[in-house]
């Protein structure tokens, strides 16, 4: 008898179909605009998925995810512009840098209870943002780093690349979430003392999940850097972290695939709200409040559950 759920065929097929659909979409409506929006949506998807894997499963909400994004992006910027390395080096470098930060920050903060961990990570992101401004001679200060070379020049091809990365990461993290990894992380959420009594080294698992989460966030940061062709301290902003958390909430916490859906939905939605440009953040915040109250399980995941249950006898 299978102990762990494993990847579920129906969902995998659904994911594949969605991926193909997203890939084809810009070819139907040509023009740089759509490709740009979808690329950003996909990158937010990567950020959201990486957040959900750690925070969604363990329940330890990380309010400083933007830190890993920022250091990954800046790593890309540094290597590319200051050290003149080719853009492809950014990808492993950004992951490595983010992972190092995760280990260094994880050790002292992960033993703190929920809200304190969240706020410690928030404080860390704020510090990083400040440091980028303070050491402006090296980091470019407010302006950040400019003239980053793109990974792939053709926007459509870059989009497909990012989409592929998103698909790969989602697949990997979904599989992990439904394997013993996910079980352990969910158990940690349930009761840590009992986890110890069950023989699990919880600190190791908590840090490892943060490291994995950070690695992919950093990777997303590098992808973003090579898309925008510049990085600025704004990447470390609290707003970025909150946006991502909102996306995960919309999608359904802990479901992994829901985070992707949430990211896509919200990015597209805000583009639709472009006319009310200044209202964007307001809408996000109100939406978050609404969801916290009325839809704590999100929108995307419950809808997918309903679709699945349609085919089943009651």
């Amino acid at each position: 008898m299978k102990a762990f759920k494993g990847l579920d065929t129906l969902s995998s097929i659904g994911g594949l179909v969605a991926l193909l659909f997203l890939g084809v979409l810009p070819t139907l409506f040509t023009g740089k605009y759509l490709v740009g929006v979808l690329t950003v949506a996909a990158i937010y998807g990567i950020w959201a998925v990486s957040w959900d894997f750690m925070s969604g499963l363990t329940g330890r909400e990380n309010f400083g995810h933007s830190l890993f994004i920022g250091v990954g992006a800046y790593a890309a910027g540094f290597l590319n512009v200051h050290f003149g390395l080719g853009p492809w080096w950014s990808l492993p470098a950004s992951m490595l840098v983010a992972m190092v930060f995760a280990v260094v920050l994880g050790f002292p903060t992960l033993r703190l209870k929920g809200p304190y961990f969240a706020l410690a990570m928030l404080s860390s992101a704020v510090i990083m943002q400040r440091l980028m401004l303070i050491f402006w001679e090296y980091t470019g200060g407010e302006e950040g780093i400019h003239d980053i070379t793109p990974l792939i020049v053709n926007p459509l091809h870059y989009y497909w690349f990012v989409l592929a990365v998103l698909g790969g990461i989602t697949l990997l993290l979904s599989w992990m979430a439904r394997s013993r990894w996910g079980l352990i992380l969910r158990a940690i959420r349930g009761d840590e003392a009992t986890c110890l009594a069950a023989g699990l080294p919880i600190t190791t698992y908590k840090i490892m999940s943060l490291v994995i989460s950070a690695a992919f966030a950093g990777l997303g940061g590098a992808l973003y850097a090579h898309y925008q062709l510049q990085v600025s301290p704004q990447l470390f902003a609290v707003v970025t972290s909150i946006t991502i958390i909102t996306m995960v909430y919309v999608g359904g916490m802990g479901t992994i695939f829901g985070a992707v859906g949430g990211a896509l939905l919200l990015t597209v939605m805000t583009e639709g709200l472009r006319n009310f440009g200044e209202w964007r953040l307001m809408v996000y915040s109100l939406l978050l409040i609404f969801i916290l109250f009325f839809l704590p399980n999100g929108i995307i995941a419950p809808i997918w559950q309903k679709i699945r249950n349609l085919g089943r006898p009651s």
Partner: protein, 248 residues
Amino acid sequence: MNALLQVKQLNKHFGGLHVLKNFNMELHKGEIVGILGPNGAGKTTLFNLLTGFIPADSGEVLLHDQPIRQLKANAIVGLGMARTFQLCRPFVGLTVLENVLVGSLGPRVQTQDLGERAMHLLAQVGLADKAQQASELLSYGDLRRLEIARALATEPELLLLDEPFAGLGSSEIEALSVLIRQLHSEQHLTILLIEHKLREFMQLVSRVVAIDFGEIIAEGSPTDIVKHPRVIEAYIGKQNPLNLDNHA
């Protein structure tokens, strides 16, 4: 042959309070030993010290002659000593089966098919039909069984049960006693058990260690312990140990 578990001069202070005083104890393989004492005697502290949940001030704890006092709680489980908690805390959000599975992930488990093994354990404790239920919805008696199943899942040699009968009704107590006896005989488990209700104790354990204020006040068979003057003294005013109708 050396004892399975040796406790030597174990001490613990909480602030100014000397909670456990030069505690010495030996446990041999195959025994069921009970630790008896009124509330506040230091029983749960002893368990927490033995299983690595709180650090001791001084002393030694040897499992199979290996010192374990400084080890982390999960490492001790990996060496074969598992425990249950007085206040059952299931993994909220996980099913009953998943709760047991979590216990199955340690280094002592050799089986490949974890799912089957978990179902087998649930069947042993009588929870097989509730495998897919949300664990936080179980009744108190069932939660106790789940605790035991989860501890068993770690493939222990020595099982520490912290007040397993607390809060249960008489028929549940009876059933649980039967289960414990079964586990002892069929699985060759060594069991150390804390209780402050003497009645349940008497029928289950082969040896009793009575403690009060962090010290051992008597040791012996259940029938001897009941007559021991210091034990009676410790219990006067708290509960009548000879009152065999007392369930509270």
